[in-house]
């Protein structure tokens, strides 16, 4: 395999694995803040117990998120050093801002959240929950801004030529508020809330099915369902806005997402389908003209398709199409699940409806899959560019590395991440089985 493919596989593997954790810490950070706020308002010990339990889960998730996140920061330089030279002037400042504004906040106050129960006042502890939640959200802000700049570059100019060409910033705020950053950020954040909410729903449903920690599970479930409701409304809205943005700024990505091959024709919306890249067609049930309507508000307006772009500028269609459509389907499934949950809650049957609870338990995976698929659509759809329209992925590669060292690091990552994932699931399972009442029990055992 060549070094470009190896480096791409390694980046995909490491970023996918990393991205299991940050959405959980963003979503759970918000839920913990809500729970602790409710404790501050009501002084009900149940909310205190809830906060304590979910903070423990948060700690485990955060640790792996940090450990796998450091990899990402240095991987731009190790495998994509030509890209780093090219964009450092623009991209680097967003990354540095993330460190200064987000990571210090999050990691510092997490210490109080985890270990400070007896060292600070309840108010200070609550403030820490607030700041950890802010920190988690800020970290998403800067990294999504940086990534959005790669999708829709703005606020820069190109200096130098050939090998020495690089992007230099001309307007910092235009870079930060590039055309796609805010719509994508809102989509990413609301997806993260959904991810956190479904973790809480899943674990609470498990307790209700096992008839353990009933009060704890019921209260946690109510909080999570409320968050999920808002998150999923925001998902629909921001998803729509993001798609419009893609249509406007990244026509090749949109055409690949929708499987729209014809150079300039009315674009249909496929509910699902099989992509045949060779013959440039998609077979499957479709709503004629729906994509045209979506973009232009008119079923008959033609949309630029892949055929109007040179072959070398087109992204891989099948992956982008399937990822995008699967994400949509999962999204719709989640909306239905939340709707059913709310109806059951309103009619007072939520905690007794065993089939629904049984569905909730594995549903923790659904937002995770949707997150990964959404990023697949976004990043594969951006190809062949690493910075859309400016720099090709193949041009961003490090020149100083050889395939053999990338093999070594790729194999190491695969092994270490497998180990990490198995241990994470094992420990998470252990924590869940101990449950909220297990917190004190666990430490007594350790002391003995």
């Amino acid at each position: 395999m060549d070094i470009l493919l190896l480096s791409r596989i390694q980046f995909t593997l490491t970023v996918m694995f990393h991205y299991i954790y940050p959405p959980l810490s963003i979503g759970l950070g918000l839920i913990i803040l809500i729970m602790e706020s409710m404790y501050m308002l009501t002084r009900n010990p149940l909310y205190h117990q809830m906060t304590k339990f979910w903070v423990k889960i948060f700690g485990l998730i955060f640790a792996i998120g940090v450990a796998t996140g450091i990899v990402m920061e240095f991987e731009f330089g190790t495998n994509w050093s030509t890209y780093s030279r090219y964009v450092g002037d623009v991209f680097g400042s967003a990354l540095a801002a993330e460190g200064v504004f987000a990571f210090f906040l999050e990691s510092g106050f997490l210490a109080i959240l985890l270990f400070g129960w007896d060292k600070v006042t309840p108010l200070m502890h609550w403030v820490s929950a607030l700041l950890v939640c802010f920190g988690a959200h800020f970290s998403a802000v800067w990294i999504v801004v940086a990534n959005s700049w790669m999708q829709t570059p703005a606020g820069y100019h190109i200096v130098g030529e050939g090998m020495h060409a690089r992007a230099e910033i001309t307007d910092f705020w235009a870079m930060v508020f590039n055309p796609s950053s805010m719509q994508r950020l809102s989509h990413v954040l609301s997806a993260a809330w959904l991810t956190g909410a479904f973790l809480v729903l899943s674990i609470s449903a498990y307790y209700l099915l096992k008839k353990q920690h009933i009060d704890f599970a019921k209260a946690s479930m109510k909080v999570a369902l409320t968050v999920a409701l808002f998150a999923c409304a925001a998902q629909l809205l921001t998803g729509r806005i993001s798609a419009e943005g893609v249509a406007l700024h990244q026509p090749t990505k949109l055409a690949a997402m929708e499987g729209h091959f014809a150079p300039n024709a009315v674009a249909d919306f496929y509910l699902f389908g099989l992509v045949d890249e060779k013959n440039a067609q998609v077979t499957g049930p479709k709503i004629p003209g729906m994509v045209s309507f979506f973009i232009h508000g008119n079923f008959d307006t033609p949309v630029r398709g892949l055929g109007s772009f040179e072959k070398k500028d087109r992204p891989p269609v099948a992956i982008t199409f399937y990822a995008y459509h699967l994400m949509l389907m999962i999204g719709i499934l989640l909306v239905m699940m939340i709707a059913v949950g709310l109806v059951l809650l309103a009619t007072g049957r939520l905690f007794e409806t065993r089939w629904y609870l049984s569905v909730l338990v594995p549903s923790v995976l659904l937002p995770q899959f949707a997150n990964q698929l959404g990023w697949f659509a976004a990043e594969v759809g951006r190809q062949p560019w690493i910075v859309y329209g400016l720099l090709r992925t193949s041009e961003g590669l490090s020149r100083a590395i050889k395939a053999d060292v990338v093999w070594i690091s790729l194999i190491m990552f695969t092994l270490i991440y497998l180990l990490l994932f198995v241990l994470f699931i094992f420990l998470l399972d252990h924590k869940i089985k101990l449950g909220p009442k297990g917190i004190a029990l666990e430490t007594q055992k350790q002391r003995a």
Binding site: R85, V87, A111, I169
Partner: protein, 338 residues
């Protein structure tokens, strides 16, 4: 003062902050297996429990600042030191998860395995930081395209191994003092012994490294020769090192810690002074070196970043100080501990 110089100094501040803070928790890790029994090892880990990941953020931010202010340096070093960077990152990963996972199961083999992982990963991290520093002093082969032209094994020359061991020794001394400061009773008495041994280790390494630098990397002391006033820096450095055993003897543990922190900062200062204005020295063709001027970002970015730093760094200092203040005093094991 121009912006490139300001960023060279700010980068130095961030990395010195990292060296002082993560220095002691890497040191605690390197000493971990000397602690006997589960109780002592839990004390070791919990002494750094609330602060270690905040300490590591100094590295993350330093890396981000390097990327933003000197993109070419970031790109050349990360791709040139490819395997070393990943080895370092794997070590940092194992350290993080060892701390987090160890306490989650009571089984002896589980805890033993994580104890070993924590210790080995800490030793390797400190050593590799030293190897990187050694190579920056010694110089690395660079091409006209600013790309590294050497090999991984070429990075492990005797001088770099020497700086690797020196950094490991200073971390161990710093970590031992931190443990003395954070513990009490029998364990505290034992840790005092560690301080003595690690100071001896450090002073020996320091002496050898100084000689090697004077003989083989004399460019590191040119600025001291040119401006005799700067000679005060190595003198202060020696005094602060000599002050450590004195403060330990008088049981002023916090002052000993400050003293060893000062020694680390002064060492970083000497390192920065020595390499200035180069960031990556090219050896054998020094005219191809990456300097703070030919490898920097645009003035506009350096200005923007300076604004970010002026807003952000006071906040960071405020968080750091308040976290250390809240978790001051001797470490106690309770239900929230690791």
């Amino acid at each position: 003062m121009d912006l490139q110089l300001i960023w060279f100094i700010l980068l130095g501040v961030l990395l010195s902050g990292y060296a002082v803070l993560d220095g002691f928790d890497l040191g605690v890790g390197a000493l971990h297996l000397f602690a006997k029994g589960d109780q002592q090892r839990r004390l070791m880990i919990n002494s750094i429990g609330p602060v270690w990941d905040g300490n590591e953020v100094w590295l993350v931010t330093g890396g981000g600042a390097l990327f933003a202010a000197f993109p070419d340096v970031y790109a050349t070093l990360a791709s040139g030191f490819y395997l070393a960077v990943f080895l370092l990152i794997f070590s940092l990963i194992f350290r993080a998860i060892a701390i987090e996972f160890r306490s989650k199961q009571p089984w002896a083999f589980w805890r033993q395995s994580w104890d070993v992982a924590f210790c080995v990963a800490s030793i390797l991290s400190a050593f590799l930081f030293g190897v990187v520093i050694g190579n920056l002093i010694w110089g690395i082969p660079l091409g006209a395209d600013r790309e590294f032209q050497g090999t991984f094994w070429g990075l492990l020359h005797p001088y770099a191994l020497l700086t690797g061991l020196t950094v490991l020794s200073v971390c161990m001394m710093h970590g031992a003092i931190y443990i003395v400061m954070k513990t009490e009773g029998e364990f505290h008495a034992m840790a005092r012994g560690w301080v003595k041994n690690t100071i001896i280790f450090f002073v020996i390494m320091y002496g050898i490294l100084t000689m090697a630098t004077l003989l083989y990397a004399p460019h590191m002391v040119e600025k001291l020769k040119a401006c005799p006033l700067l000679f005060l820096v190595p003198v202060l450095n020696l005094l602060s090192i000599a002050n450590v055993p004195r403060e330990i003897h008088h049981k002023r543990d916090f002052l000993a810690f400050l003293s060893s922190s000062a020694a680390i900062v002064l060492l970083m200062f000497l390192f920065g002074l020595g390499i200035f204005p180069n960031l990556v020295l090219s050896n054998p063709n020094p005219q191809l070196s990456l300097t703070i001027y030919n490898a920097s970002s645009s003035i506009k970015t350096l200005q923007t970043m300076l604004t970010i730093a002026m807003i952000g760094m006071p906040l960071v200092l405020a968080y750091t100080i308040s976290i250390y203040f809240i978790f001051r005093g001797k470490v106690k094991l309770d239900e929230h501990s690791y």
